[in-house]
Amino acid sequence: MNLLTTSLDKLLGVLEAVGGFVAILAFLFWLAGKVRGRFERPLANILLLGPAVILLLVGLVIPAIRTIFLSFRGQYVIGPDVKYVGFANYKWAFTDPHTLHTLERTAEWLVIVPLVSTVAGLVFALLVDRMKFQVIAKSLIFMPTAISFVGASLIWKYVYQYRAPGLPQIGLLSEVAMKLGWSHPPNWLLSSPLNTFLMMVILVWIETGFAMVILGAALRSIPDDVIEAARVDGAKGWRLFRSVQLPMISSTVTVVIITIMTATLKIFDIVYTITGGDFHTDTLSNEMYSQIFQDFNNGRGSALAVVLFMAVVPLVTVSILRLRKERYA
């Protein structure tokens, strides 16, 4: 029963890690609990805040600063040939034809995915309201948000499977295309730029549920009397939506779009799983990974990480501030 013992070992390891951590804390708490008077408060603060501050410094602050330094260095960042190269890595990022295409493609992702998912989510939220089986329908749309990007990618890679016409088809897309009379459909994932759009479909499939839930909640929080008043004035359907509902949820729409944009910008798993960035499908996050772990060019990889960071900052800032405002409103 090798399997059983190794599994038990791993779970024991978990118990050790968590238990050990808790035991050390409990001991320190007990020790510090003896201290009273002037030093009680500072000691409590050090004990309570210390672990979080250490984790943040070691895991985020120092590495991020180091990455900025590394982005000005050559290929190897450790060893004798550590070399300062100035802005060469950034120059490469914004002039090299391959990287330029990557950035361009990332921008396409950034525009298309958030827009399509938000519109799809909004349409669904509007239509499904007060429908009979709305709980089931909403669950189906929302379900993909729980699935990992890797799982989702495999599910869709199966849909996109290509087989030469004449053989029995196993990919749903080819089958449907051929049934509709397209006798020689392309090899979907190998044909650029089609493959990029097919991968965007996967992210839209995932993010639409998120948009639907948030926008649906916003739509339902519009007071009934506002809707009633508009109805009495004769606004219905499209006009009701355009001139009453949409303006009232516009700030939530912004949050949803920006949130999906942030997720899209960092997307790595889908491209990595479906094509590995080949066949002209690279995106920023993916290219960064290949630079570091496949070409072993830490300098360029770090420069791309900084570019990603610069792109994320405005998006996350806006969305956090909005979320905060909403919370305390």
Partner: protein
């Protein structure tokens, strides 16, 4: 209605507010209604169909899965459960040694500490910043809050170097070489560190709003700060902790990038997602194993999703800026 309340309603936790009956429908409204139903049904089917086909294939034999599309199963029904046994315990295709089961254990061994330890550390920090207080507590909170903008991609290379070489200033080691070398610990410690800004932010929002009287009363009774944390703050924060825990557990369970980066040196520490990603190269030859393996990773999130939807929605919203 606040966003939180709205989401509660979404999850069906509180009853829908009473609505005035819609005005009587006239003829054009009826065709609109029918069109809406069609759109909703078509979208739902489109969304569910890929998952359904994937699931059906995981129940077919190798020959059947490769010889015909999954939709033919309705004409020639023949299902088997053996793919799951094979993929979990025997392996095959690209899966090294003994199937996916050990990697599912890795995923658990990563996700459990990477969920529990951030909760403890972050709730302690949140309590310190909101109740114990010190002079620059607000500044510290704002800095931690602001760190949410740093994408974890910024940390990967330096952290990898730290794990494998330790840290030195002028040849003097200030941080030891932990000799983790691509172990499970390396993965969950990284997850723990990356989760901090969001965890502190979320728990602070909740803990700072606990009723003042309770904490003051405990103080007056002579309880020390650390006792209050354990006996008053922790128990009262459970709803916020639950939302964060579910979000964090799923995030770690579903993660690829961190698992891939920090377990690169030893395959035996890899989480399920990394193994599965490597399986995707075998699409031509082992479709039945691939689909079964894929479903194994999906099952846990699905269970969480359908049983804890309320917390899931709140956690999802709160965590939507993470990454």
């Amino acid at each position: 209605m606040s966003l939180d309340e709205a989401l509660l309603t979404e999850a069906g936790e509180t009853p829908e507010p009473e609505r005035t009956a819609p005005p009587p429908q006239r003829e054009p409204a009826k065709t609109h209604q029918r069109l809406a139903t069609v759109v909703v049904v078509v979208m739902s089917v489109l969304w569910a169909l890929p998952v359904f086909g994937f699931f059906v294939t995981s129940l077919r034999s190798k020959a059947a899965a490769e010889g015909s599309g999954w939709w033919t199963v309705f004409v020639h029904p023949s299902l088997t459960f053996s793919n799951y046994i094979n993929v979990l315990f025997h392996g095959g295709a690209n899966i090294q040694g003994g199937g996916l089961f050990p990697y599912a254990m890795n995923s658990l061994a990563i996700a459990i500490p990477a969920t529990i330890i951030p909760i403890i550390v972050a709730s302690m920090a949140a309590y310190s910043l909101s109740w114990v207080r010190f002079k620059s507590a607000d500044t510290v909170y704002f800095i931690i809050f602001g760190l949410q903008v740093v994408p974890l991609q910024m940390s990967l290379v330096p952290l990898l170097q730290l794990y494998s070489h330790g840290a030195h200033i002028g040849g003097f080691p200030i941080f030891p070489n932990l000799n983790l070398h691509g172990s499970i610990a390396e993965v969950w410690i990284s997850h723990t560190m990356f989760s901090m800004p969001l965890a502190v932010f979320l728990l602070y929002n909740f803990i700072a709003q606990l009723p003042n009287e309770l904490i003051e009363a405990a103080r007056v009774d002579g309880a020390n700060f650390l006792y209050i944390y354990r006996r008053v703050v922790m128990p009262l924060s459970l709803p916020a902790i639950a939302s964060f825990a579910i979000f964090q557990f799923l995030w770690v369970w579903n993660d690829l990038l961190i698992g891939l980066t920090f377990s690169a040196k030893s395959a035996s520490a890899q989480p399920l997602t990394v193994q599965l990603q490597q399986l995707s190269g075998t699409f031509g030859s082992h479709l039945e194993l691939l689909t079964a393996g894929g479903f194994v990773t999906i099952i846990i999130p699905m269970i969480v999703f359908f049983s804890l939807q309320r917390y899931f929605v709140r956690g999802l919203l709160a965590g939507s800026v993470k990454g």
